[in-house]
Symmetry: D2
């Protein structure tokens, strides 16, 4: 797999940003293999993502980053310059349902997800054999209904020890405490099993069944303190009809959930998702 | 176009319904060209729809209906036996936006909607020329913001004079008063420009834009007294991204709205939609 | 899981079939939980599928079958009366690509596929560990390019020993010889990685890339002697653009393939697929 | 509506293109509201499209074009710099079926298609009243089956007199002669009523019905001398089942055709479609 530098920028829109950045890269002989820009006309904010072939540039990641810093300052950029040779570290959190986990592990094995899976954390022990068969550490951290703090302290310690860049709630079924939401802000991805903002909260498929909707959905979003209200990364739906029982909705939902989560995570790992207030720019 | 009798039944599920009904029809030589059944296991209610070639039965619509009545009584059926040679009469209600109207008029002209369009009622005069070009009566009934009652009295009179079987709110943008909702219960079809239950009420595309959803939708439903909460007939969605402005959402939405409304109305006219509490059985 | 008898019928359409069959079932107290019919107006053929709660009928599967036989004769039916308490036996055939296999094994584990997986046969040894971890026998049958007959003789023996009701080519990448196509006619399901009839044969994603299509697809079909030309059970597509390389098409294709194959196989196992010449009736 | 310059470029990929172009535009104070790039790694060709707010640049369209020419030469660009204040002139060609025409006229009226419709040409007179009601010239040019040359000579004269930038075959149902394909190369858009390359040629829905496909489609493409083989702009599909007759397929197909054609035409008019051999880059 080729080795890239990925430049991701968000800043106030003004004249000459692309000129300045592209001229900087061309000046070092950098070959841009993929370029995306977006001007948000409402907020006046500019977003860009450049994928640069590392070998085309005769300097290290750190040197390039230092060289770019003055431009970033000049344009008041929120920015990152990532090196794809340093793989992201991901921690997966699951409960008992395995569909998202099985799907992510397959994609990871097949090379669709460019990351290391540092560990799997679960409040149950059910999925240990599956995870360990893939050579991944499995941590069982039961969550006591009446005092969840010790469990989440342990979760925090495990995530920190794993040096996780990203935490994926792959149907974890527990609500993260505000302290963790804040600590890992912008780095925790959840899959919610409804087409948000419809049916937030518990048992969304049963809510959908009772309302008689003709489409069910799933939503991949960044976790924030407000439940199921964080920036949406991706959504998709599945058609249902009067023929389908709540169990059928759950079954269809599994397919939508795993597809939506996999797309969202892949885009996150490829630096394609830029958060903009409570929304996202996704250079998919 | 062939001539059919359509038998539509909803009743408590029990042994022998299909046997009794199909034997009754076979006894008169009736050729069934389409048959649909559904047993709702949760509520224990049974639904069926039979399309019978009228020419295959040697008796009139009225005679057949009388002959069937004892079976209907025996099984406590809600039922109808409709004769497709009697075309339904539809009143369309619109405001200023023409996309649903243009679409329905095209489909009606092309023979996709088996009905007479008895009249178009609007609170504005903008679409008169278009409607009259199709040879359809156009009634301009302005709605005074501070006293809507006279307008809705006139609407009621027009609908009654038109002997309408069905009223379609094709982006009418006014809320029908409870009296009309009740008077025409089960016969008023609305298109709401969101994927209900998300974004009920006003300006749904702007709500969707603010929330940053990745899919927008439209919902065709029967009108009940509670706003945007009636039984859903059909829904569909369109994918959007950060590139799209609220105007783009409105534009995509027009396509979804007209498609969803057209399907919903067609199914209603073909007796394919059976209301079941606040949900629908749709034999599409 | 409840226990059902499934009656599947295909016969010349004529008066009184439903009456006769439903009266027969009602006569034994049979509770029909799902009923589907289809009259093909072009060919004059009738299709039906009834799902009957076994416990509601006071007789064994064999007795019921014997009792029904005279009706089947009278109406010249192709028919089957299946008992869901006897699980189908499925043999999966794979090559090196694991996406369909992983997906089917997950669904089987999750109870989405009502069958026993009797064995997996592969022309490579790559997927042995995965299969055996699920407790399923794995047979490595290499296929010599210059003399494939011995391999297919072994395949036939393994399928026969496994008493397979159904053989699934889950990306097997070898063409079955006519003798096996004939021997297992109507029981071999293949997933082809294109939207047939486009791009039959080898390397369909590369063909699609060269043609510049904007959608790629996959097709689940019964295998017949003519390559990629058997009755289609299910198809689906994925949107692509100029951004996507042949590798991206392959990646998207994996998702479509596994979804389409899983739906096709599930419907086959639930007796929802009735072959009609080179087409299918699918009571999904 | 704002006024833009649209720069569209295709050239061999090499270092510094974006830098050179964006610096050129920034040098004149040009505000880029939308920017798209694509590097085709297989062919080594680079594509870009910039939308520049005209008012932000203190010079006329012609002056800007002259100033850019040396850069274009330096990089061996195929290029265009279009001024959106000069509306494109479109000629629609139709036969008897009105669905695409009605749809395009609605979208044109609603402001979704930024063009003048210079004329409608048809080999039948059926749609005259509809077209003239929209205030558009209608030319009836019958095509004699045994000698089509005079008709196409007249078509050519009408298209030339209309100074058409673009000709849309909105279900014209006649094959353009090679001379016209060549004369208007890259400017004639056709809607084919199948998911190409499946079912090229006549009666595609009947071909699809006979093959028993589960999805039907439509394809919008540029017309070339080889029938139904030109660069594909857009495609979409509609799900069908055994329930559907050839007439149903035709009906569903109308919806897909008009949607696909409208998207393709809109993108063409907005300079979003760049031809690349027999494929397209679509910056949608």
């Amino acid at each position: 797999m080729s080795h890239y530098y990925r430049l991701v920028v968000s800043c106030p829109d003004r004249l000459g940003i692309v000129s300045r950045v592209s001229t900087f890269i061309a000046g070092y002989g950098g070959s841009i293999t993929e370029a995306s820009q977006h001007s948000d006309l409402e907020s006046g904010r500019f977003f860009m993502r450049y994928e640069i072939l590392a070998d085309s540039i005769g300097m290290s990641h750190e040197t390039l980053r230092d060289a770019f810093a003055p431009i970033a300052d000049e344009f008041a950029m929120d920015w990152a310059l990532n090196d794809t040779s340093r793989r992201r570290r991901v921690v997966l959190m699951v409960s008992r349902e395995s569909h998202c986990l099985v799907d992510l592990l397959y994609r990871w094995t097949a090379g669709e997800l460019d990351c290391d899976i540092a560990a799997v954390i679960s409040n149950h022990d059910d999925l240990r054999a599956l995870v360990e068969w893939h050579g991944i550490a499995y941590h069982h951290v039961p969550v006591a209904p009446d005092d969840k703090a010790p469990a989440f302290a342990e979760v925090q310690q495990l995530v920190d020890e794993a040096r996780a860049d990203c935490v994926v709630l792959a149907r974890y079924m527990q609500i993260l405490p505000p302290s963790l939401c804040e600590r890992y802000a912008g780095r925790v991805i959840n899959i919610h099993h409804s087409f948000l903002p419809s049916f937030a909260g518990a048992k969304p498929y049963h809510q959908a069944y009772q309302r008689g909707v003709k489409l069910i959905g799933a939503t991949c979003h960044y976790v924030t303190e407000e439940l199921d209200a964080g920036p949406i990364i991706e959504q998709d739906i599945h058609r249902v009809s009067h023929c389908h029982t709540p169990n059928d909705l759950v079954r269809f939902g599994r397919d939508v959930e795993k597809a939506v989560l996999a797309r969202g995570l892949r885009w996150h790992l490829e630096d394609r998702v830029l958060v903009h207030g409570n929304k996202t720019v996704v250079f998919a």
